[in-house]
């Protein structure tokens, strides 16, 4: 084996980068659909970290947690897209900044 091995730290770094890119996109973009996609990016970064830890420590519980994250992400996307459809039908050019009109 040479000195260049894929260690857990590589995966953790990649997961952290995905999380940060998703978080930055969530703050910058104002299209609600793309904001939801950025949330998916953040969740996937965390999933990658879970699997990397599971592989490192030989513990299958990380896989179970990732399954739960997948289910919750699916539910979140279903409800979120339902909300987006409801809002954008009422006002077709709405961005996330316009959603303050819902209050009250």
């Amino acid at each position: 084996m040479s000195g260049l091995d894929v260690t857990t730290g590589w995966y953790l770094t990649l997961g952290a980068m995905l999380f940060l890119i998703g978080g930055t996109g969530l703050l910058v973009r104002r299209n609600p659909l793309i904001m939801l996609m950025c949330v998916e990016l953040m969740l996937n970064g965390v999933n990658l970290s879970f699997i990397a830890f599971a592989d490192r420590f030989g513990d299958v519980h990380g896989h179970t947690v990732v399954l739960f994250v997948l289910v919750v992400a699916a539910a979140e996307v279903v409800v979120g897209l339902g909300l987006v459809v409801a809002v954008l039908r009422a006002s077709p050019r709405a961005t996330a900044d316009d959603l303050s009109a819902l209050k009250g």
């Binding site: 894929v6 659909l33 999933n47 299958v60 990732v66 399954l67 409801a86």
Partner: protein, 206 residues
């Protein structure tokens, strides 16, 4: 060496897709970039011996969630390209920049710290178990990652969480149906159809 190449290609696909999601003006392009990221992560799952999770990742994410995204995009119309620079709040930009840079610094430090802790903890645990390994082949400890092992932990240790998950899915489905129905009523409020539909649905409820 193969592992390094796989990691480099899949990781590059992940990062390019993630940046593409954030920067693309067209929501359809963003969704396709998201598919690229998800496939890259599935490849990395395979490289990490998580074959079942990789299959679930492709089926659930690329097969269901992205299709749902594309469905909604097509439903709402794709002619409106999202404007990247249209009236973004300056404070928002600064907050995002601070989050990105500060978060990058914190996470790099965290990953380095975790990696250092790993080397200590891992060798300590293995020493206690009486196993001597070198650092290079340490991560490849053989542990059961097949479906039966995941099912064993899912249905024994996490069974209550699993049942709560089914409750969550039911609530999500019902909530989405109610959201879609209500918006349909308000959209066609001026027509005569809801006036006939509303008593019918009330009767159906009784």
């Amino acid at each position: 060496m193969v592992e390094v190449v796989v990691f480099a290609v899949a990781g590059a696909a992940c990062l390019v897709g993630a940046v593409g999601v954030v920067l693309s003006r067209n929501p359809v392009h963003a969704a396709l970039m998201l598919v690229m990221t998800l496939f890259g992560i599935a490849v990395l799952f395979v490289a990490l011996q998580a074959h079942f999770i990789a299959a679930v990742q492709v089926i659930v994410y690329a097969g269901a969630i992205v299709v749902l995204f594309l469905f909604v995009i097509m439903l709402l119309g794709v002619d409106r390209a999202a404007e990247l620079s249209l009236g973004a709040l300056p404070a928002q930009r600064w907050t995002a920049a601070a989050f990105g840079l500060g978060g990058a610094a914190v996470l790099v430090w965290l990953v380095a710290a975790v990696d250092r802790i790993f080397k200590g903890a891992h060798s300590y645990e293995l020493e206690r178990a009486g196993i001597v390994v070198t650092e290079a082949d340490a991560p490849a400890t053989s542990y059961a990652t097949d479906v039966s092992a995941i099912a064993r932990s899912l249905f024994s240790e996490y069974v209550y969480a699993f049942e709560l998950t089914s409750l969550l899915l039911i609530v999500a489905v019902i909530g989405t149906v109610i959201l879609a129905r209500r918006s349909g009523y308000s959209e066609h409020g001026g027509e005569s159809a809801p006036a006939e539909n509303a008593p019918a649905s009330q009767e159906a409820r009784q």
